[in-house]
Symmetry: C2
Subunit: 594 residues, 2 copies
């Protein structure tokens, strides 16, 4: 860029025409977006301006959005050849090496472009620069292209718009010389940690870190180093493998603040699930240390050794040890290779006898906060980088079987059937509508099978599962009670019978109001609207809830929030905002105490 970095003050103070010139080219051939957003000046933050830009496009209606998408050139396509792209578009494909394609690659891209345009009616749009300002690799681009070609048109339309906004965000950072240094730091820490993966996965380039494998122990060692280098005063690996770092306060407050999340992963998982909640506060510690600043309280960051329950059946093993929930009989569980947890812990040099000592005393802490990637599509769809968690949902799970009468599909009249699968179908639609009626409950039939089903046989058996979650135990119980009543009603009406087995029941962990309000204040200070939402997934905070007041902050996931998947991703911009929010929470807490 030839232009020198702008400041937000300049943008706020400029005439409309000058301001329009300052942000010209943010959106490909679509100056109307910036024009409308600038009407809302002054902006308190670049994040607020970005959100305003997104909202203009969101509110402009489908026709204008389609025109916006169609204003973009094809990827490495004809426009690149005849130089008709805007400045920003031309310089990005270069970074991904897309102008250095082999003829076969070029032909493949042309085919994908053509198929995509035929299917969706607009060109494939991908924000080519990754979180660290580096281009995506060619192979990643091709894989993403092929995956998105399979999407539903409505969803792909939104995914196209999200990429358009991400491109504008990248350009805006360049234009305003915005520092996302701490977001990049978190990104770097996560990339470095993602180099370690269990045997069998590492070779495939997949990320899998399960409890106490070599990769897991290497991660603990690496996190210890990160903590020490960032400025933690005390760092140790405890008796279950949690990495505990403490940034000492002034001693003004006798109570510490606990934060953290887990560093183990699911099989073939993502780099952010858990780990983001370790490194976001650690970036704050680094900032405090460099500024030679002490808080009036100790900050304890814990990288929990185990949350996902992948190697052994026990889950929340790391946070469970802190609440006194580590069950001694877990030690006798064996992994797929027959290695007991006890053996694995001994081999790792952990002091099993010390596990009971890990139990924390509630009065030593003010509370527990956790930052986590959302693992869902909500924030992404709302164009919001951060979300306020109101509660970790209560859940209940059942496995079930519906039983009717197997009969001839040709000779059994409709009114004389006892179709087990049709009964389950009715149940599924009820679960769907019942959960939707609450707006923040979810209900899922994830297992569905007619054993030995034939095309010409009315199903006499149908296996299914039920997973019901809601922000409070009462809301979950009301939904579960309605669903169970409906099963009974369906069975009665259809002449079926059924078996149900409850396999899991977990209580809700509502956020402590005072702590939730601290997160809200932090997000509001960034100039961002507040979006309050329940957490559908379980988190370490759910365990700590038994001991301490807790509240969580969610960070938007890219790729429509996909998680437990290598496509799980967030951006340095969003992580930078998470660090700022965490910092705000620390500072306001310091103020409260003073």
């Amino acid at each position: 860029m030839a232009t020198p970095p702008l400041t937000l003050d300049q943008l706020n103070a400029a005439s409309l025409d000058d301001a329009r010139a300052m942000v010209a080219g943010l959106y490909e051939h679509s100056p109307w977006i910036a024009r409308a957003a600038l009407q809302q000046r002054p902006f308190r933050s670049l994040a607020q301006f970005k959100y305003a830009l997104c909202q203009v496009a969101t509110n402009a209606g489908k026709d204008a959005q389609l025109a916006l998408l169609r204003a973009h050139p094809e990827l490495a396509g004809r426009a690149l050849a005849d130089k008709s792209l805007t400045v920003e578009s031309t310089h990005e494909p270069n970074k991904a090496g897309l102008t250095h394609c082999t003829p076969a690659e070029f032909e493949k891209i042309q085919q994908l472009n053509s198929d995509y345009n035929a299917r969706f009616g607009f060109p494939f749009i991908l924000a080519l620069r990754g979180p660290r300002g580096l281009g995506l690799q060619k192979a990643e681009i091709m894989a993403t292209f092929e995956r998105r070609l399979q999407s539903h048109p409505d969803h792909e339309f939104q995914e196209g718009l999200r990429n358009v906004h991400r491109m504008a965000e990248i350009r805006l950072n360049d234009r305003f010389g915005r520092s996302i240094e701490r977001g990049n730091l978190v990104w770097d820490w996560q990339e470095a940690l993602a180099q370690y993966s269990d045997p069998g996965y590492a070779e495939l380039g997949q990320l899998t870190v399960t409890y106490l494998t070599d990769a897991h122990r290497a991660c603990a060692q690496r996190i210890s180093n990160n903590m020490r280098e960032a400025g933690c005063d005390k760092v140790h690996i405890d008796a279950v493998g949690n990495v505990v770092g403490r940034y000492k306060g002034t001693g003004a407050s006798p109570k510490a603040l606990m934060t953290g999340s887990h560093y183990d992963t699911v099989r073939n998982g993502g780099k952010y699930d858990g780990r983001l909640g370790i490194f976001v506060p650690l970036a704050c510690v680094q900032g405090l240390k460099r500024a030679n600043k002490r808080l009036p309280f100790d900050l304890e960051i814990i990288a929990f050794a185990e949350e996902e329950g992948q190697r052994y059946k026990a889950t929340f093993l790391g946070s469970g040890a802190l609440t006194g929930d580590f069950k001694p009989d877990w030690l006798d569980q064996v992994d797929a290779d027959g290695i007991s947890m006890r053996q694995a812990m001994k081999q790792a040099g952990l002091c099993i006898d010390d596990i009971p000592k890990l139990k924390r005393i509630a009065s030593d802490y003010m509370g527990f906060v956790e930052v986590h990637i959302e693992q869902g599509p909500v924030l992404s769809e709302l164009n919001l980088p951060l979300g306020i968690v109101t509660s970790i949902n209560a859940s209940v799970r059942h496995t079930g079987e519906m039983l009717g009468m197997t009969s001839h599909a040709g000779t059994t009249p409709m009114d004389r059937r006892r179709d087990a699968a049709a009964g389950v179908a009715e149940l599924m639609l009820y679960v769907e509508s019942r959960a939707a009626a609450d707006s923040d409950s979810v209900g899922t039939v994830g297992i569905l099978n007619v054993p030995g089903g034939s095309i010409n046989v009315v199903p006499g058996r149908c296996q299914f599962s039920l997973d019901l979650r809601a922000p409070t135990d009462a809301q979950r119980d009301a939904m579960a009670s309605d669903v169970l009543a409906r099963i009974e009603q369906i069975a009665k009406a259809r002449g079926l019978h059924y078996h149900l087995t409850e396999t899991l029941r977990a209580s809700a962990a509502p956020s402590a109001p005072a702590w939730q309000q601290r997160w809200e204040a932090a997000v509001a200070a960034l100039g961002l609207p507040l979006h309050r939402m329940p957490s559908g997934a379980g988190h370490d905070a759910m365990k700590l809830h038994d001991l301490l007041p807790q509240a969580m902050l969610f960070v938007r996931g890219e790729n429509a929030g996909i998680s437990h998947n290598p496509l799980e991703s967030t951006s340095s911009d969003d992580m930078q905002l998470a660090v700022q929010a965490f910092e705000h929470l620390l500072n306001s807490l310091a103020q409260e105490l003073s």
Copy 2:
């Protein structure tokens, strides 16, 4: 019985009190049924009287029906011990050897009785005499008891009533000395034929006769003998293994009547499917021969060698050969052991070269009629022994897969899901209601599976099948078109996409009106109400439909019409009526021609 056999004329002529005395004890402690039915005298047939008895109970309402069921003693229970049963009840359990139970067996029966009563609120009722007047075996009784204990209460209530009516029927036959000699003959032929079963099934006591196995060839040989002994003038096994018997007419009509059905079976099937349609007309031939009577036309009875498509993929191989539909490339199909159809036919001594000569000339025949067990619950529920087939249903089959987006069951809000299984559930309920709206269409989703489904994952894929059948091609096509439109609509609304593959399409075979009317006249002559119904299953008549006018007669199946199952059953009483109906059709046809 001490009383001499009664006649229907006596019953019709008697005073109400005398008539009531004649039929006292038909229903256990429930004389109100006979009293009401007798108001409808005179009866044209015992069958008509029986039906009137059933109708009284059917129209009496649930409370009276429950009282009727509760008027029955427990099986081999306390009532047997203290001699409080009616005469008829006491003499029946003896025949099944239930009074000679071991203490363990007695205890088991007591437990079953107790469980059954607790579940349904009435005693287990089983008509203990089988079709041949012999008692059911003890093991069969116990198996039936255990199976029915699992039934839905509504269905078991009806099954109890059906058994009550069957007991009354048996008693009525005794009281009136009714001959069911020809029903018994058909029963005997079928029992004898059921001794032959393929290796692996015979050892288990299961019936399986697939194309050209040793058991299959033995059946052909046995049927040849039956045909000759019954009086057929010419009997031969043709080039595909059909057994063809001809009872010569007077020569007055140049055209023959063709009838018959198949003698192969499905794996672990029933004794009546197909074979009933061979032996019912053969019983008529025996009657004609014994009476030394000739019809003005030849009667050709064909025992088709293959209809079920069990050993090879080809189906309707026997009847197909007659319509010129035997495809030469079928000869290269191989069975599970790698034996080609050609090898199997050679080994059986069949003249493959003669297959094309089997093709019949339409002008040589008046038409084709077929008697078949219903293979469904309709006649059983209506208390009707015979039904008139209006059409063999047209059908179309698809296999399909619905595709959405796999996502986290906890973190994906209901309004952002692309749940493939929920889409299929919606489709299933639509298929169910759309087929029901036609009243005589059927629609089935028999295959249903979420591959690799997990309790906490929103299904991204769901496999399913569609089987749609209707009495006419137009009705089937209208239904199929609605169903396909609905899939499209569901996919669009839910952001899903799908694949569908049509795997079968068969045209309807509506009955020829003149032939259907002949069956109707035959059933009406028995004093029975007419029930017209489509055939949901395919039959040999569907093939012959391409060549000749055709119409079918259905015979009620016991056990709620269960078929393709060892429980498939009918009674000598019903088979006797089928023989009488067939005889009526032959005689009225003779009259038409004279």
